[in-house]
């Protein structure tokens, strides 16, 4: 067989053609096939290494993620957090501003939340405290997003490096605060904040522990996508993202758009920090963001900023993560084993984009 991509020789039997358009059904179908092939491929690795039945491992992954009510809720909680961070990244990425500083913005939001819980916990009723928390965490995240934006807008610094460096500053600030708040002294842990009074904790709504997380994430998501799709600001972001020269030509103030958009992006990531601290962990440490600021980048790009796709992708990643803990504890495997599985699935999913953009044609002589 003589395969050549877009070759000019006459002997070609298989060639690739860029698709003009692909139906929704077909593109989803290709992705499902990719996942299934990834799972088959994983099985080929699992059997020789572990001598375990791969089907059993997959079933345990599913069991670990959604095996009972508790597990389902824990999974949902983590999906929401990863999802809202990727929502926060979308405005920046639409503008082609390579913000890899979500991690730092989350941490700053988290540390502001923890500070509000610790210092104002005794002075305000819970609802007012939560309002304060939302405001301070957004502002903290916003500041962390705006600083690189200003430098980008006025001095054209490289935002990738800048936002990355800001992460390390944020981690050090958190480390400092942890030592400041640690309980007991020297232990390097803050412990659960306000565990007795539950001040600054998200109250259960409709009897759901994470009800407020759901509502908050839903509202922010809807607002962000309305803002991006139907407002003048949203349009400006899209223009700046596709061509800065065009934007200048039609009199868009590019500097202003960059700063404004990063303020929004940072604020949402900061708010995500408050959802993590107030709505889930009730503590702060340098591991509060836990790499989710980076994982969210994969989520945003793999779903091409489509909100529904983002839910699915963050769902898939968290699902695998939860499953991994289960198989690690059950089969005495290291967590790395299921990181391999997750890696393979992501590889196939990204790889299948090729088949969504191109189709393989058979040429009959």
């Amino acid at each position: 067989m003589n395969i050549r991509i877009n070759g000019k020789r006459k002997k070609n039997y298989i060639y690739l053609k860029k698709r003009d358009q692909i139906s929704m059904k077909k593109s989803i179908g290709i992705r499902i096939i990719a996942i299934i092939m990834a799972l088959i491929f994983c099985a080929l690795i699992i059997i020789p290494i572990t001598h375990l039945n791969p089907l059993q491992i997959y079933l345990e992954i599913i069991n670990g993620a959604i095996g009972n009510k508790r597990r389902i809720w824990v999974t949902i909680k983590d999906i929401l957090i990863l999802f809202i961070i990727s929502v926060g990244l979308v405005p920046a990425y639409k503008m082609k501003f390579w913000n890899i500083g979500a991690e730092g913005q989350i941490l700053m939001g988290g540390v502001a939340t923890a500070a509000a819980m610790i210092y104002y916990g005794d002075y305000f009723p819970n609802w007012l405290l939560l309002v304060i928390i939302f405001i301070v965490s957004s502002i903290a995240g916003m500041i962390w997003g705006v600083i690189p934006a200003i430098f980008k807008a006025y001095f054209n610094t490289n935002e990738t490096l800048f936002t990355l460096m800001m992460n390390y500053i944020a981690i050090q600030i958190v480390a400092f605060c942890v030592i400041f708040w640690e309980k007991p002294k020297g232990s390097n842990t803050v412990g659960i904040i306000n565990s007795a009074t539950k001040q600054g904790w998200f109250p259960p709504i409709f009897n759901l522990t994470y009800g407020m997380n759901i509502i908050l994430v839903l509202i922010i998501t809807i607002l962000v996508f309305i803002y991006l799709k139907y407002t003048k600001h949203g349009y400006e972001i899209a223009v700046v993202g596709s061509s800065i020269n065009t934007a200048k030509y039609i009199n868009i103030n590019v500097k202003k758009v960059i700063i404004r958009t990063m303020a929004l992006s940072g604020a949402i990531c900061g708010l995500a920090g408050s959802i993590i601290v107030s709505g889930a962990s009730h503590t702060i440490s340098t591991a509060t963001a836990g790499g989710r600021g980076f994982t969210a980048i994969i989520v945003a790009w793999m779903s091409k900023f489509h909100p529904v796709a983002m839910i699915f992708v963050s769902g898939l990643l968290i699902f695998m993560e939860k499953g991994s803990i289960q198989i690690a504890s059950l089969y005495g495997l290291n967590e790395n084993a299921s990181d391999i599985i997750t890696g393979i699935i992501i590889f196939f999913l990204i790889g299948c984009e090729f088949f969504i953009n191109y189709e393989i044609k058979l040429k009959k002589d």
Binding site: I36, Y58, I62, I66, G67, K69, R70, R71, K185, G290
Partner: protein, 422 residues
Amino acid sequence: MKKKILSVGLIFILMVITLAGCGTSTSTSDSSTSDSSETTKSDVADNSSEVSDSSNDFKVGVVYIGDENEGYTEAHMKGIDSMQEALGLSDEQIIEKTNIPENETCYDAIVDLAEQGCDIIFTTSFGHEDYTIQAASEYPDIQFAHATGYQAAASGLDNICNYFTDVYEARYVAGVVAGLKLNEMIADGIITEDECKIGYIGAYPYAEVVSGYTAFFLGVRSVCETATMEVQYTNSWADMTLEKETAEALIADGCVLISQHADTTGGATACEANGVPIVGYNVDMTSVAPNTALTSAANNWGVYYTYAVKTVMEGGKLPADWSEGFAEGAVSITELNENIVPEGTAEKVAEVEEAIKSGELHVFDTSTFTINGSSIEDLMETDENYAKYKEYVFDGYFHESELKSAPSFDLRIDGITELTTD
């Protein structure tokens, strides 16, 4: 072909749906059966030797901070394994969760163990305590036990307890070994009496570490009077590179012997390269430092695990605080490295261990140390900052790990310098 792939996909989806279905239904039955398992426990209480056969539904859950690649967790895992063997439990009866960090993931992990029907749940890292207490308040029928913590007795819950070991005793004995080595080095003319400086790699500046290095130092000084010590903190429990660098810095600073309260073999690697003797922690370090590792102070967690699981199986009650040492075999030093320890070390070690067991020797004997030149007894009378130690200091020694299982000795004694403090 396409159809085949589609059908495989459909089967997969079906699997997901059915499994999600049965998962939810079992979770509800789990909680309802927890009561019945309680009763079977007390039934088997009498024939304890046959416990394994009749209490197949007894489950043990464990939450680890790391995995088998890290000394501290490895020691706990060994403890659980020896408990399993001693009580004859099957693999299905022990559910272990590794690499659980000190945040809400820990709570989720504990709750997950509870929902899987565990009757006793152990958590092993200091930062797990708050989450353990949170879970304990929600599952009053399950016994929780947290290692290294200090809040159980004051939590107001009767289903949570703290446990630790009197590892300071082992450190004291390891210190004696180190002191004998220093004496040998002085006798051989390698160092002078004034150059007897020990370097200590500490994790965090709080009681657990302070208690450990003080015990080690007092052990050294019981045989080598001119010894001094420098402590450098790493602010991390397990950081291979950092511990290696810290050891190198201490050696460069003139330390002629190294010991550690941190979990990796990083320090031992640096010592082997520089030919400086080291006393390790948790695990035998002769594999990485065959020519320099003297011995290690170690915890034998299995003693508590066996005791605790057996007690709960038989329907008994665990004390809010548990800490034992040489007397119960809960601590030890690892095998002496015969190639490098001075002659007569084994005899001296046996003698000191015996004295500790019999209660004749107290590690924190107040006549053996001073603080800024004064004894702790004087300071308690004259300085109100030291008044709080009255609880612990009486009968001529500091009663470490007796009031609470977690170490509480956090006095900075003369002869030891902390290089970094905040």
